[in-house]
Amino acid sequence: MRKGRLAAMVAAPLAVALIATGCGGGGSGSGEDGYITLNWAEPENPLVPGNTTEENGGFIIDALFTGLVQYRASDLKVENAVAESIESTDHQNYTIKLKPGWTFHDGTPVQAHNFVDAWNYSAYGPNGFQGASFYEQIDGYDQMQSKDPDGDGPAHAPKPAADKLSGLHVIDDNTFTVRLKSPFTIFPVLLGYSAYMPLPDSFFKDPKGFETHPIGNGPFKYESRTPNTELKVAAYDRYAGANKPQIKGATFKVYDQLDAAYQDLVSGNLDFLDAIPASALVGDKWKQDLGDRAKQKPGLLTQNLGFPIYDPKFKNPLVRKAISMSIDRKTITQQVFSGGRDPADGFATPAVDGYRPAQCGEACEFNPAKAKQLLQEAGGFPGVLTVETNADGGHNEWVQAVAANIKQNLGIETQFVPTPTFGEFRQKANAFKFSGLFRTGWKADYPNLETFLTQLYRTDASSNDYKYSNPAFDAALDRANAAPTVEAATAAYGDAEKLLGEDLPVIPLWVQPVQYGFSERIAQGEVKAYRELDLTTVRLNQ
């Protein structure tokens, strides 16, 4: 067969397709009309601030709402937004004054009662809001919850004793007070999180209607949504904040596959992609494709392996340290993630206020000789060490790599144990049923070191899946909570974190940087460490 014929055979089906698509070519670049297009996925909850705890819903909430404070996009510094001032003398009773002139997208003014009513509604147990636990610091939260008498059965939970947080009081239209259960100096830092947004009066009249057309007070207003396809927001011309949007609006487009979104970014049909697919990270292909539009900065996501300290095998801190020191983090981040992760040296990420390098100390350094020696001192490890993960989250590869690493460097038998779904995995975690290392991770809710500590490692905290308990650590947190200034508190949290480096309730593995790309249309834009593009900072090329 001559060469020409072979080529003709391969080319034939392609040629047919080419001829057939003669009409489909070109493709209008996204939004010449001042709208930009962003990669997005369907939110998992209705778009109500207090009920949104996952990031896709969060992106929209953050565009539609502005809270008492906001986080500056470049470095997440806390700035007053709707709040004129947040004052406290004892760090337990706060007086919050609002700036006048803020309005909701339906024209009604933003007043103190909009915050108080929203928080009361979100915290009230029977409303079943996902973000309810964010109000647990406020006095009266416990009286608004009730427990199902038979766990989860036919009998219903009784009505809670109260339907309002006793710690909240409206003083006048622009002032309200908050009383916390105990002193908490960094409370004002929390107030930029989506759960603390105000809600307009129309929400309480018709919550269901609000879900289909959310009304906020932020720089952008809700325009339209086609479920499972796209959501549009438009700039709100009466926005009272200093950071007025410079673009006309934004289209959040749903993609099921990161690869498809990436191809759209490369060819200019998508303006912002908040994560880079693994296929483009290999050999830094994305940097060649995008040039200086490929960007990276520290993120807010940690990946750890937890110890079931409730299991006697893991009681000895030396065993925990030995296992941690036998893991070659650097090689795994390079080979499994193609550099998409940075080895961790502590329990937080560099993007939060209060981060200190090397808080984990030598326990997070790769040192197989020392690891073996430590394990010997501890008397060895009995039996097989299991390493568990959920199989549906794309974690199998690195968990297997870590298990192989431990086996090779520590000389103990390891076994990789996948659980089919994340749901089952969480049920195991909640029931304290793990018998070996288990995968865990944490995403910061607000940019302070505290977000990586209290929930996870305080005795009996809600996400303390390890049953870790150290009175010295709890006391250090209490000291930090009551510190005189936010700076002092943040420093004190750093001291508490140092204690974790000794005890190692988890093995810090790596942190995930935010890797993102812009299209050629975007001249400038700040991406928050949340992987979220701050739409008010976007400027377009003319």
């Binding site: 698509t21 369907e42 819903g57 809001f129 487009k253 498809a260 191809q263 969480r426 996400s463």
Partner: protein, 308 residues
């Protein structure tokens, strides 16, 4: 014929109830609470989980849940997703796109496949025959996602002839390349099926008779030969359309087509039981009707097949 169709339609009822029951039981019988992993490592407040259990009747026995669901379904209420979106709205949004894509794919595979099959079937060995055999073999051996990515990157990102992904409400023109990718495998089968069938029938007695009667070759091929050869192909195309109506998870993913395939895949991953059951129920109906249509077509094509 009318009685046959009626009988077949009546048969749909028990099949429909049986399949939906099985689907419902399977979907909700997956171990693990769908809300246990909903809020990440932070975990959901118990009040939220209780509220959702109440809303989706998860505290009832499974069979009671099913009848509650079926009752709502019969009034046209598909229920809503955990994010509060009506499943009916989702289907309404996604289904026209899937149908468009399926039809484009079916036309591409039907036209090109039949044409290639007829030409090679009539001419027999030669360059064209070899070309079709080799290129169909090539298509059959390629997984769909490879064809998809290659066309997307070459035509979309490199040459800029098409957009790498389709727009939110794609036109027929935009769907031609995805349709080609989706139909390529079946196109190869159609070509080969037609070719074999034509070659076999070319030597059949009735063709010889037709030629001996002095009929023009156009009439011999067009009416006698083709009509008889095309029966297995129609069977194949019919079931294929049924499959295509169920959505194409891979192709839809590659070109970001917001169709039914991606919707159901996502729903399975996030354990959105209501969405899965709702869509699959609809697909069962489509499948049953497609099969009925194919069976009726047999009678039209082959006069020896009678249903009364």
């Amino acid at each position: 014929m009318g009685r046959y169709v009626l009988r077949r339609l009546l048969q749909l009822v028990p099949v429909f109830i049986g399949t939906t029951l099985i689907i419902y039981l399977l979907v909700w019988a997956i171990p693990g609470d769908p809300f246990a992993g909903k809020c990440g490592d932070r975990g959901c407040p118990p009040a939220y989980i209780a509220e959702m259990h109440e809303k989706y009747n998860l505290n009832d026995p499974l069979i009671v849940q099913y009848f509650k669901y079926l009752g709502k379904l019969l009034t046209g209420d598909f229920g809503e997703t955990y994010a509060g979106v009506q499943v009916g709205t989702l289907i309404q949004q996604a289904y026209p796109i899937t149908i468009k894509l399926a039809l484009v794919a079916l036309i591409i595979e039907g036209v090109i496949g039949l044409l290639a099959g007829i030409l090679t079937g009539l001419r027999g060995r030669g360059f064209l025959d070899n070309l079709v055999l080799v290129s169909t073999l090539f298509l059959i051996s390629l997984p769909v996602f490879v064809t998809g990515f290659v066309l997307q990157i070459v035509l979309g990102s490199e040459l800029g002839i098409i957009r790498p992904t389709v727009s939110s409400n794609p036109s027929i023109g935009e769907l031609i390349v995805p349709g080609f990718v989706l139909g390529s495998l079946s196109m190869a089968y159609v070509a080969r099926l037609t070719r074999t069938s034509m070659m076999e029938n070319r030597r059949a007695d009735y063709v010889r008779t037709a030629v001996a009667k002095g009929l023009g070759s156009r009439r011999v091929v067009g009416v006698h030969l083709l009509r008889n050869s095309v029966i297995p192909v129609i069977t194949f195309l019919g079931t294929d359309l049924g499959t295509l109506m169920g959505g194409a998870i891979v192709t839809e993913g590659v070109f970001n087509i917001r169709g039914i395939g991606g919707l159901i895949y996502k729903a399975i991953l996030t354990k959105e039981g209501t969405t899965v059951t709702g869509i699959v129920t609809l697909l069962v109906l489509v499948y049953l009707l497609m099969n009925l249509l194919v069976d009726i077509l047999y009678a039209v094509l082959d006069p020896r097949i009678r249903y009364d």
